[in-house]
Protein backbone atom coordinates (compact mmCIF):
# COMPACT_ATOMS: atom_id res chain seq x y z
CA UNK A 1 0.00 0.00 0.00
CA UNK A 2 1.04 3.55 -0.53
CA UNK A 3 0.70 6.74 1.43
CA UNK A 4 -1.15 9.12 -0.84
CA UNK A 5 -2.12 12.35 0.93
CA UNK A 6 -3.66 13.73 4.11
CA UNK A 7 -7.42 14.17 4.17
CA UNK A 8 -7.16 17.46 6.03
CA UNK A 9 -4.14 18.75 4.12
CA UNK A 10 -1.09 19.79 6.11
CA UNK A 11 2.13 17.94 6.66
CA UNK A 12 2.67 14.27 7.41
CA UNK A 13 4.29 13.24 10.68
CA UNK A 14 6.98 10.58 10.33
CA UNK A 15 8.25 8.69 13.34
CA UNK A 16 10.85 5.98 13.60
CA UNK A 17 9.73 3.10 15.79
CA UNK A 18 11.31 -0.06 17.12
CA UNK A 19 9.85 -3.08 15.38
CA UNK A 20 8.97 -6.52 16.64
CA UNK A 21 9.68 -8.21 13.33
CA UNK A 22 10.85 -7.50 9.82
CA UNK A 23 7.82 -5.73 8.44
CA UNK A 24 7.65 -4.96 4.75
CA UNK A 25 7.44 -1.42 3.47
CA UNK A 26 3.88 -0.24 2.87
CA UNK A 27 1.95 -2.23 5.46
CA UNK A 28 -0.06 -1.10 8.48
CA UNK A 29 1.54 -1.70 11.87
CA UNK A 30 -0.29 -1.96 15.17
CA UNK A 31 0.35 -1.02 18.78
CA UNK A 32 2.88 -3.33 20.43
CA UNK A 33 1.36 -6.62 21.48
CA UNK A 34 1.95 -7.87 25.03
CA UNK A 35 5.39 -9.44 25.18
CA UNK A 36 6.46 -8.08 21.79
CA UNK A 37 9.64 -6.02 21.40
CA UNK A 38 8.18 -3.35 19.13
CA UNK A 39 5.22 -2.47 16.95
CA UNK A 40 3.29 -5.48 15.69
CA UNK A 41 2.23 -6.58 12.24
CA UNK A 42 -1.35 -6.10 11.15
CA UNK A 43 -3.26 -9.10 9.87
CA UNK A 44 -5.36 -9.69 6.78
CA UNK A 45 -8.50 -8.95 8.78
CA UNK A 46 -7.42 -6.58 11.55
CA UNK A 47 -6.12 -3.03 11.80
CA UNK A 48 -7.18 -2.68 15.44
CA UNK A 49 -5.15 0.03 17.24
CA UNK A 50 -3.20 0.89 14.09
CA UNK A 51 -0.23 3.24 14.44
CA UNK A 52 0.31 3.91 10.75
CA UNK A 53 1.86 2.78 7.50
CA UNK A 54 5.50 1.72 7.22
CA UNK A 55 7.49 3.87 4.83
CA UNK A 56 10.69 1.86 4.56
CA UNK A 57 11.69 -1.80 4.82
CA UNK A 58 13.69 -3.55 7.48
CA UNK A 59 16.80 -4.69 5.69
CA UNK A 60 20.28 -5.66 6.66
CA UNK A 61 22.73 -5.55 3.77
CA UNK A 62 19.85 -5.82 1.35
CA UNK A 63 18.08 -8.72 3.06
CA UNK A 64 14.92 -8.54 5.20
CA UNK A 65 15.65 -9.48 8.78
CA UNK A 66 13.88 -10.21 12.04
CA UNK A 67 15.01 -8.65 15.31
CA UNK A 68 18.36 -9.77 16.65
CA UNK A 69 18.74 -11.74 19.89
CA UNK A 70 22.50 -11.24 19.89
CA UNK A 71 23.62 -9.21 22.90
CA UNK A 72 24.23 -5.49 22.28
CA UNK A 73 23.07 -5.50 18.66
CA UNK A 74 21.24 -2.36 17.45
CA UNK A 75 17.47 -2.42 17.40
CA UNK A 76 15.65 -2.44 14.09
CA UNK A 77 13.77 0.67 13.19
CA UNK A 78 11.11 1.57 10.66
CA UNK A 79 9.62 4.89 9.69
CA UNK A 80 5.86 5.12 10.10
CA UNK A 81 3.50 7.85 8.90
CA UNK A 82 1.32 8.27 12.00
CA UNK A 83 -1.32 10.80 10.91
CA UNK A 84 -4.79 9.34 11.57
CA UNK A 85 -6.12 11.08 8.44
CA UNK A 86 -3.45 9.62 6.15
CA UNK A 87 -5.09 8.33 2.99
CA UNK A 88 -3.77 4.91 1.99
CA UNK A 89 -3.92 3.78 -1.62
CA UNK A 90 -4.43 0.01 -1.92
CA UNK A 91 -4.41 -2.03 -5.10
CA UNK A 92 -7.49 -4.18 -5.69
CA UNK A 93 -6.59 -7.81 -6.31
CA UNK A 94 -8.57 -10.96 -7.09
CA UNK A 95 -7.15 -13.40 -4.54
CA UNK A 96 -5.13 -13.75 -1.35
CA UNK A 97 -2.08 -14.36 -3.55
CA UNK A 98 -2.55 -11.11 -5.49
CA UNK A 99 -4.09 -12.48 -8.70
CA UNK A 100 -5.60 -9.88 -11.03
CA UNK A 101 -9.15 -8.74 -10.34
CA UNK A 102 -11.70 -10.81 -12.25
CA UNK A 103 -12.58 -9.41 -15.66
CA UNK A 104 -16.18 -10.28 -16.42
CA UNK A 105 -17.70 -10.35 -19.89
CA UNK A 106 -21.21 -9.25 -20.83
CA UNK A 107 -23.10 -12.37 -21.94
CA UNK A 108 -26.53 -10.86 -22.50
CA UNK A 109 -26.90 -7.34 -23.82
CA UNK A 110 -28.94 -4.82 -21.82
CA UNK A 111 -30.73 -2.21 -23.90
CA UNK A 112 -31.94 -0.12 -20.96
CA UNK A 113 -28.59 -0.19 -19.14
CA UNK A 114 -30.16 -1.09 -15.79
CA UNK A 115 -28.55 -4.50 -15.54
CA UNK A 116 -25.19 -6.00 -16.33
CA UNK A 117 -25.36 -9.71 -17.07
CA UNK A 118 -22.22 -11.82 -17.14
CA UNK A 119 -21.20 -14.93 -19.03
CA UNK A 120 -21.40 -18.51 -17.81
CA UNK A 121 -18.10 -19.20 -16.12
CA UNK A 122 -17.89 -15.78 -14.48
CA UNK A 123 -18.12 -15.80 -10.69
CA UNK A 124 -21.66 -15.43 -9.38
CA UNK A 125 -21.89 -11.76 -8.26
CA UNK A 126 -24.28 -12.71 -5.45
CA UNK A 127 -21.76 -15.08 -3.83
CA UNK A 128 -19.52 -13.49 -2.70
CA UNK A 129 -22.17 -10.79 -2.69
CA UNK A 130 -21.21 -7.60 -4.53
CA UNK A 131 -24.50 -5.90 -3.57
CA UNK A 132 -24.00 -2.25 -2.52
CA UNK A 133 -20.63 -2.30 -4.21
CA UNK A 134 -19.52 -0.89 -7.56
CA UNK A 135 -19.65 -2.11 -11.15
CA UNK A 136 -17.55 -0.46 -13.85
CA UNK A 137 -16.75 -1.12 -17.48
CA UNK A 138 -13.25 -1.32 -18.87
CA UNK A 139 -14.29 -1.59 -22.52
CA UNK A 140 -17.20 -0.86 -24.84
CA UNK A 141 -19.49 2.14 -25.00
CA UNK A 142 -19.51 2.38 -21.21
CA UNK A 143 -15.72 2.15 -20.89
CA UNK A 144 -14.68 4.07 -17.77
CA UNK A 145 -18.24 4.48 -16.45
CA UNK A 146 -19.15 3.12 -13.02
CA UNK A 147 -22.34 2.72 -10.97
CA UNK A 148 -23.28 1.62 -7.48
CA UNK A 149 -24.77 -1.86 -7.42
CA UNK A 150 -28.22 -1.96 -5.81
CA UNK A 151 -28.89 -5.70 -6.06
CA UNK A 152 -27.41 -8.93 -7.31
CA UNK A 153 -28.89 -12.25 -8.37
CA UNK A 154 -27.59 -15.75 -8.90
CA UNK A 155 -28.19 -15.35 -12.64
CA UNK A 156 -24.89 -13.45 -13.05
CA UNK A 157 -26.81 -10.17 -12.92
CA UNK A 158 -26.06 -6.95 -11.12
CA UNK A 159 -28.62 -4.15 -11.09
CA UNK A 160 -28.06 -0.41 -10.95
CA UNK A 161 -30.48 2.50 -10.55
CA UNK A 162 -28.86 5.12 -12.76
CA UNK A 163 -28.71 3.36 -16.12
CA UNK A 164 -25.58 2.84 -18.19
CA UNK A 165 -25.71 3.29 -21.95
CA UNK A 166 -26.83 0.14 -23.76
CA UNK A 167 -24.06 -2.45 -23.63
CA UNK A 168 -23.04 -5.16 -26.06
CA UNK A 169 -22.16 -8.82 -25.66
CA UNK A 170 -18.43 -9.06 -25.10
CA UNK A 171 -17.99 -5.78 -23.21
CA UNK A 172 -15.61 -6.20 -20.26
CA UNK A 173 -16.52 -5.10 -16.75
CA UNK A 174 -15.54 -5.56 -13.10
CA UNK A 175 -17.43 -5.71 -9.81
CA UNK A 176 -16.29 -5.13 -6.25
CA UNK A 177 -18.14 -4.92 -2.96
CA UNK A 178 -16.76 -1.46 -2.22
CA UNK A 179 -18.13 2.00 -2.75
CA UNK A 180 -17.51 5.29 -0.99
CA UNK A 181 -18.04 4.79 2.76
CA UNK A 182 -17.85 1.00 2.77
CA UNK A 183 -16.37 -0.21 6.06
CA UNK A 184 -13.64 -2.84 6.43
CA UNK A 185 -11.34 -4.55 3.99
CA UNK A 186 -9.69 -7.94 3.69
CA UNK A 187 -6.04 -7.84 2.74
CA UNK A 188 -3.96 -10.17 0.62
CA UNK A 189 -1.61 -12.51 2.46
CA UNK A 190 1.35 -10.15 2.05
CA UNK A 191 -0.78 -7.36 3.65
CA UNK A 192 -0.04 -5.06 0.69
CA UNK A 193 -3.32 -5.13 -1.27
CA UNK A 194 -7.08 -5.32 -0.79
CA UNK A 195 -9.06 -8.30 -1.99
CA UNK A 196 -11.79 -7.25 -4.38
CA UNK A 197 -13.00 -10.79 -4.97
CA UNK A 198 -14.81 -11.14 -1.64
CA UNK A 199 -17.43 -9.21 0.29
CA UNK A 200 -16.27 -6.24 2.37
CA UNK A 201 -15.31 -7.34 5.86
CA UNK A 202 -12.20 -7.49 8.04
CA UNK A 203 -9.63 -4.80 8.83
CA UNK A 204 -10.95 -1.53 10.26
CA UNK A 205 -11.00 0.98 7.40
CA UNK A 206 -13.33 3.22 5.41
CA UNK A 207 -13.28 3.70 1.67
CA UNK A 208 -13.10 7.38 0.84
CA UNK A 209 -12.62 7.09 -2.91
CA UNK A 210 -12.08 4.63 -5.74
CA UNK A 211 -9.64 4.79 -8.65
CA UNK A 212 -11.24 2.45 -11.17
CA UNK A 213 -9.13 1.47 -14.16
CA UNK A 214 -8.49 -2.10 -15.28
CA UNK A 215 -8.02 -5.52 -13.68
CA UNK A 216 -4.49 -4.80 -12.54
CA UNK A 217 -4.53 -1.09 -11.84
CA UNK A 218 -7.66 -0.24 -9.85
CA UNK A 219 -7.31 1.09 -6.32
CA UNK A 220 -9.18 1.95 -3.13
CA UNK A 221 -8.35 5.03 -1.12
CA UNK A 222 -8.68 4.12 2.55
CA UNK A 223 -8.73 5.74 5.94
CA UNK A 224 -7.89 3.64 8.98
CA UNK A 225 -10.98 3.64 11.21
CA UNK A 226 -9.34 2.25 14.36
CA UNK A 227 -6.25 4.41 14.73
CA UNK A 228 -4.33 4.80 17.95
CA UNK A 229 -4.07 8.58 17.54
CA UNK A 230 -7.49 9.11 15.97
CA UNK A 231 -10.79 7.34 16.25
CA UNK A 232 -9.89 4.47 18.55
CA UNK A 233 -12.48 1.77 19.16
Amino acid sequence: MKFEYLLGGGTPTLKKYKMAAGHAAGIVVLVAAAGATGLSTSTTTSWADAVGLTMDPIVNVGQPVSYSVVQNQPEYLQTVVVNPDAVIKALLVGSAANAALETRTVGTASANGLTVVGTTGDTDPSSPDMDEGTVWYSSGANGGASRKITSTTTTLTVTVIMPFAANRVGDKYHTIDYTVGTPDVTLSTDLQNVRGDIAATGAEARVIDLQLNGATNSYLELLISDHLFGTNT
Binding site: M55, G143, Q211, N213
Partner: protein
Protein backbone atom coordinates in the same frame (compact mmCIF):
# COMPACT_ATOMS: atom_id res chain seq x y z
CA UNK B 1 9.30 0.61 77.88
CA UNK B 2 9.44 2.42 74.53
CA UNK B 3 6.41 2.12 72.32
CA UNK B 4 6.90 0.32 69.01
CA UNK B 5 6.62 2.74 66.07
CA UNK B 6 3.83 1.91 63.73
CA UNK B 7 4.60 2.13 60.02
CA UNK B 8 2.05 2.19 57.26
CA UNK B 9 2.10 -0.89 55.12
CA UNK B 10 3.39 -0.24 51.60
CA UNK B 11 0.77 -0.79 48.98
CA UNK B 12 2.10 -1.56 45.54
CA UNK B 13 -0.23 -0.67 42.71
CA UNK B 14 0.70 -1.88 39.27
CA UNK B 15 0.50 0.99 36.83
CA UNK B 16 -1.81 0.46 33.89
CA UNK B 17 -0.04 1.87 30.86
CA UNK B 18 -2.22 3.16 28.08
CA UNK B 19 -1.76 2.04 24.49
CA UNK B 20 -0.42 5.51 23.63
CA UNK B 21 2.18 5.29 26.40
CA UNK B 22 3.24 1.84 25.20
CA UNK B 23 3.58 3.15 21.65
CA UNK B 24 5.50 6.24 22.75
CA UNK B 25 7.96 3.92 24.51
CA UNK B 26 8.55 2.13 21.23
CA UNK B 27 9.75 5.28 19.51
CA UNK B 28 13.37 4.92 18.45
CA UNK B 29 15.73 7.00 20.59
CA UNK B 30 17.61 8.29 17.56
CA UNK B 31 21.34 8.73 17.14
CA UNK B 32 23.25 6.62 19.69
CA UNK B 33 25.33 8.48 22.25
CA UNK B 34 28.79 9.23 20.94
CA UNK B 35 28.01 8.75 17.23
CA UNK B 36 28.55 11.57 14.81
CA UNK B 37 25.55 12.70 12.80
CA UNK B 38 27.18 11.88 9.48
CA UNK B 39 28.03 8.32 10.48
CA UNK B 40 24.50 7.72 11.81
CA UNK B 41 22.83 9.09 8.66
CA UNK B 42 25.21 7.03 6.54
CA UNK B 43 24.13 3.88 8.42
CA UNK B 44 20.46 4.75 7.92
CA UNK B 45 21.11 5.23 4.20
CA UNK B 46 22.75 1.80 4.02
CA UNK B 47 19.54 0.35 5.50
CA UNK B 48 17.34 2.27 2.99
CA UNK B 49 15.56 4.17 5.76
CA UNK B 50 13.64 7.36 5.26
CA UNK B 51 15.97 10.22 6.24
CA UNK B 52 14.44 13.27 7.88
CA UNK B 53 16.58 16.35 8.32
CA UNK B 54 15.81 19.74 9.84
CA UNK B 55 16.47 23.01 7.96
CA UNK B 56 19.84 23.36 9.71
CA UNK B 57 21.04 19.87 8.76
CA UNK B 58 19.43 19.25 5.38
CA UNK B 59 22.03 21.14 3.32
CA UNK B 60 24.74 18.80 4.63
CA UNK B 61 23.11 15.76 2.96
CA UNK B 62 23.61 14.92 -0.71
CA UNK B 63 20.67 12.61 -1.56
CA UNK B 64 21.84 11.75 -5.09
CA UNK B 65 25.10 10.33 -3.80
CA UNK B 66 23.19 7.72 -1.79
CA UNK B 67 20.43 7.04 -4.38
CA UNK B 68 17.93 9.02 -2.38
CA UNK B 69 15.28 11.46 -3.58
CA UNK B 70 13.69 14.37 -1.79
CA UNK B 71 9.95 14.17 -1.16
CA UNK B 72 8.63 17.07 -3.19
CA UNK B 73 4.87 16.65 -2.86
CA UNK B 74 5.31 17.27 0.87
CA UNK B 75 8.14 19.83 1.02
CA UNK B 76 8.04 19.71 4.82
CA UNK B 77 7.25 16.90 7.24
CA UNK B 78 7.07 16.77 11.03
CA UNK B 79 9.78 14.45 12.29
CA UNK B 80 12.82 14.06 14.49
CA UNK B 81 15.94 15.20 12.63
CA UNK B 82 18.28 12.28 12.04
CA UNK B 83 21.22 14.67 12.19
CA UNK B 84 20.63 16.58 15.43
CA UNK B 85 17.92 14.46 17.10
CA UNK B 86 15.56 17.40 17.42
CA UNK B 87 11.86 17.21 16.60
CA UNK B 88 11.17 19.83 13.97
CA UNK B 89 7.96 20.67 12.14
CA UNK B 90 9.89 21.79 9.05
CA UNK B 91 11.99 18.73 8.28
CA UNK B 92 12.73 17.54 4.75
CA UNK B 93 12.13 13.86 3.99
CA UNK B 94 14.37 11.79 1.73
CA UNK B 95 13.31 8.38 0.43
CA UNK B 96 15.47 5.64 -1.02
CA UNK B 97 14.70 5.69 -4.75
CA UNK B 98 14.11 1.94 -4.99
CA UNK B 99 11.39 1.93 -2.34
CA UNK B 100 9.83 5.33 -3.06
CA UNK B 101 7.17 4.03 -5.44
CA UNK B 102 6.35 1.12 -3.12
CA UNK B 103 5.24 3.49 -0.39
CA UNK B 104 4.27 6.75 -2.07
CA UNK B 105 1.60 7.62 -4.61
CA UNK B 106 2.02 11.05 -6.12
CA UNK B 107 -0.28 13.07 -8.34
CA UNK B 108 2.12 12.47 -11.24
CA UNK B 109 1.78 8.68 -10.77
CA UNK B 110 -2.01 8.86 -10.71
CA UNK B 111 -2.08 11.09 -13.79
CA UNK B 112 0.20 8.75 -15.73
CA UNK B 113 -1.82 5.69 -14.73
CA UNK B 114 -5.11 7.27 -15.74
CA UNK B 115 -3.72 8.51 -19.05
CA UNK B 116 -2.33 5.07 -19.89
CA UNK B 117 -5.66 3.43 -19.05
CA UNK B 118 -7.69 5.89 -21.16
CA UNK B 119 -5.27 5.42 -24.06
CA UNK B 120 -5.68 1.64 -23.80
CA UNK B 121 -9.49 1.92 -23.83
CA UNK B 122 -9.46 4.25 -26.83
CA UNK B 123 -7.22 1.82 -28.69
CA UNK B 124 -9.61 -1.05 -27.91
CA UNK B 125 -12.55 1.03 -29.12
CA UNK B 126 -10.70 2.05 -32.28
CA UNK B 127 -11.05 5.76 -31.56
Amino acid sequence: MPMATKTDPTVLVKRQFTKKEITAAQEAPGKPHGRTAGSWVYDLCALKKVITLCPLCTHKFNPGKFHYRKEKEFPVVQAKCDGCDTFDVRCSAYFFEETYHQVRSTAADRRAERTAHMRKMKKEQGI
